[in-house]
Amino acid sequence: MKCYSGLLIIILSCFYAASAFSQIELSGKVTDTLGKPIEFINITVFTRESTSPKAFGFTDGEGKYKILVTLDADSLDIQSSALNFETEKYTIPNKTQQVDFVLRQDVKLLETFTVKAKPIELHGDTLSYLVDIFKGKEDKTIADVLRKLPGIEIEDNGKILYQGLPINTFYVEGLDLTDGRYSKISENLPDEAVSVVEIFENHQPIRILEDRVYSPQAAINLKLKKKAAATGSGKVATGFSPWLWDVNLTPMLLSTRFQLLASYQTNNTGNDVSQQIDQLTSNGQMQFPYAPDEKIQLFDVGSYTQYGAIDQKRYLDNQIHLANFNMLVPLKKDLQLRADIFFVDDLRNNESEINSLYLLPDDSLRIIENYYRKHSRRYWQGTFHLKRNTKRNFLNNQTEFRFNEADYQDLIINANDSILQHFNTPYKELSNRLNTILRIGTSLIEFQSLIKYQDGVQKLSVFPNQLLNQQYSITGQAENLQDATIERTYLDHYAGTNFKLKRWVLSLRLGFAYRVQNLNTKLFIEQPDSLSDTLISENKLKASQYQIYLNPSVQYQNKNLRILLSWPVNQQQLSYQDNELALSNSKIKLLHSPVYSMNYSFSSWWEFHASWRFYQRMNDPDDFYYNYMLKNYRKLIKTDALIQELNRHLGKISISYRNTITTFFNKLSYLYMIRESNLLYSNQLQDDGSFIVTAVEFPNSTLSHSIEFRSSKYISALKSSLSFNAFFLNSIGQTFVNDDLFDTRTMSYSLGPEIYLNAASWVNLSYKFYTNVVNSKINNELRNTVNINKHYFNFNAFAATHLVNLNFEYYAYNGTRYNFVDLLYRYSFSESKIDLEVRWNNVLNSKTFIDQQYSQFIVTEYVQVLRPSQILLGVRFSF
């Protein structure tokens, strides 16, 4: 019995164990009421005791499922669940079996709901926070307080997020002064000035879109304690030697009726802060491609350092003051006036040596000059935006004025002479741009209008000048005076629209432009012994230009191929009339400027690009003179022959292989350009290097080819990127100098290997070598070779609060050597938002920098005097 019972216990316990842990299989088929199998139905198994799913499976394409279950239970619950079907639930014994489901369509749909209840009651869509409650002792600016408000985050760059989404508008007393650049305010406005922070949830800033376009984003509005708040921030740096300063102060005044944000910047450290204005205002060119230049340049003032060859901060000896006012006044409820006003006062000194080599068929001429320039300019610019933002229409009108005064005083010393040259080139400009969007039928049409008026009364004097002596048989030292006045009006209006049809986009623009200008020039010679000036050349030129243009373009795109075809046509009438000389020219022509471009990608890593462009135009009315005009101390020009017609062909093909997994990148491109003109400029070169330029009718062309190759590879074992650049250019043209027509050819080869080492996540260094050889040929005979080698070394390290940057450059120019070292160290106090910075520029105190430029028959070397070794210590703060 004992044994038996013992056996029974063993058998029972085996049974028990088997029933507790034996695996069963549940399978079956799920169909709808019509008997059709349904896939992706979730079948879940529960036990009676728990609400947690214990096992689950999904039906396959035939509606079948299979679930393995190992559970300690007598019975199981098996349940189906899926969107759009009602839930079926069965209780079954815990054993292998088949359970089929027949599911009915569920007519109930899931309704919109929110998981997390909002912690703060909402009143409408606005949340209000009293600043005093959230404010802490350590807080300084409103950004510090905003950071503490629930749902608000502020990123390193000052961007404010609400519920993880960036805010779309930052208002102060309901006014948007900064148009998105609100960190100027949020990072500088003291928290004491603000009483309430309001958050408008789901805020749509464009009224016409309200109730039509849902906005998930919020806006922030600050309500001020007092009617007005005055505050600001700044950056101050100083150094030596001589005494250096770099100051940037941003005071602001905020109120309910009027808001002003000002900025004053001044430095003598070689930082051209006026470039900020150019960046802000240069975006108009794109919209009006036929508009005349923004700046009026009647003379060739010359710039004696090639842009980009060397960092401007290395040589720019300046004293600049820039003031900027950003102002906003609400006029009516939906109408706002915003003004941006800039004032610049800048004084620059420049010293350089210019070594020009003129290559002629049987001769060459070398001129060495020392050039000292004092350049002062004053600049006023104001832009007024009037914006109507209502539920019915959107309109933006921009009125701009510009007063520019520029004065250049040059002293040029060469072997024989010292010449004084003085340019005075003021001009003013008034313009108005209007942009509105209208709905016609189902499509939207955009209208743009530009009206521009410019005038300038400019002067050039050169003393002494030999250039005119021969021409007008004058002896002795004479002063040349060139007066030039221009008055110009330009109108341009167009309408444009787009259509999209599957993979095609068509766009169309139709417009009309009119330009009229009066150019009066007078050239005098003043001899020291004569009492009066002698007028020797005069232009009284009226130019008018009518243009009707149509720009159709078609774009096609699929996943491998992108094609763009655009064919602008421009019916142009250009007329010149000089009443004084009783001369006139006129030409009507239909100008074509087609553009074709295609990109094709294949085999994952390859891409092929081909584009071609033909560009046809008549000369710019600014470049036409019936009579002589002095452009600078060495250039006298007359272009009366004919109206110039220019054609330009540009072709480019490139092929690239870019494998992102192996990080092997390669690109080979070929570019050609042909320039055709019906006029050739004839240069009469004088012994002192000056020119008399006239235009002669002689169809001619210049041709250039270039090939470029770039390759780079990241090698993970070395933590390094290696790259290699090669460039070849061949340019062929014809030049007409001293009645001699000859062929010119310039060939330039360059190679540049580079290594970039990412030594650790916080330190990287790079080394680059660049070598360039330029050969100039005249009538196929090699006449000059320039050889440049450059070595660049760069070291960067950055830890949380420290940043170190070391720059080393070594140049060898035809055997002469130059070294530059720059050092930067920055320390950031992460808590207080103060940055300390030490900059040591030109550590080795290098005196000069040399660079060269080459045109068809002139090779010019510029020896630029640099800023001395200087140390600058700076701090950034707010007040």
Binding site: F40, N42, T44, T51, S52, P53, A55, F58, T87, L109, L110, T112, F113, T114, V115, K116, E153, E155, K159, L161, Q163, G164, L165, P166, I167, N168, G180, R181, P216, N283, M286, L444, E446, T497, N498, K500, K502, V505, Q555, Q557, N558, K559, W605, R658, N659, T660, I661, T663, F665, S712, Y714, S721, S723, Y756, N758, S761, W762, N764, N794, F798
Partner: protein, 278 residues
Amino acid sequence: MSKQKSIAILFTIFVFQLFPVKISAQFFALPSEILDTANISVSYTITWKQDTNHLDKVRNEEMLLFVGKSLSLFMSENMYKVLLIGRKAESEGRLTDLLKGEELNNYVSRFSYRIYKNYPKEQITYMEKVIPTYFQYSEPFGVFEWQLTDSTTTIGDFKANCAFTDYGGRRWVAWYTTEIPISDGPYKFRGLPGLIIRLYDDKKHYVFDMEKLERYDEGVPIELIDRDWVETSRTDFLKARENLKHDIVNRAQEAGVGVEGQQRAARNASKKNNPIEF
């Protein structure tokens, strides 16, 4: 637009995994294929730590899961908004204004991927650009081996159950509810008997919290942008992405970005040392 500016914009598109940027024209104009229509979207907040050296710095962003009849799409809400705004602006001929303006700055995203589930069938397809290539790779549904547990909790009004899985070098904890019969979830995660309403890795470096579920009566198309996608594997994709981080200065330079910009890109890349999977 000047050449430099367009280069700069192009470059910013290339590197949007490395620092927040605007998105350009090419995104809007591209034709696409409609794979399915979603009547439901689920929004999740992702809260994550991208820099293991600064674990106190927490970021968050909104993500969307579009649930269609046969497949689903998971992507950044901001990327989605930019697409809508961009297409609208383009159809109204305001594209230049949009690109020049500040509006797009409001829709910055740090996640440019799109994850399609059950496309192709029973596969999870991940699509993302690594400068300059558009990659895609697929994984079978079977990559998630869920371990169910008895733990329960209440999230919002829902009773939630807990499950575990190991994926991409992390152990993940999912809270799902059988009350919402959608077997889907944030990121690539799916395959539980209910919707995942909270998901995090055991270090809580990546946390997804469901915010809301929205129903669209008209339906939102789930699109596949018709691009030259390069098919690869998960391993190769992760390798390409890691290489980009080290090669960023070189690629920024190639795209015409100045020295300061290159160094800023390098600094940003070095901060991104905590990817969701590795």
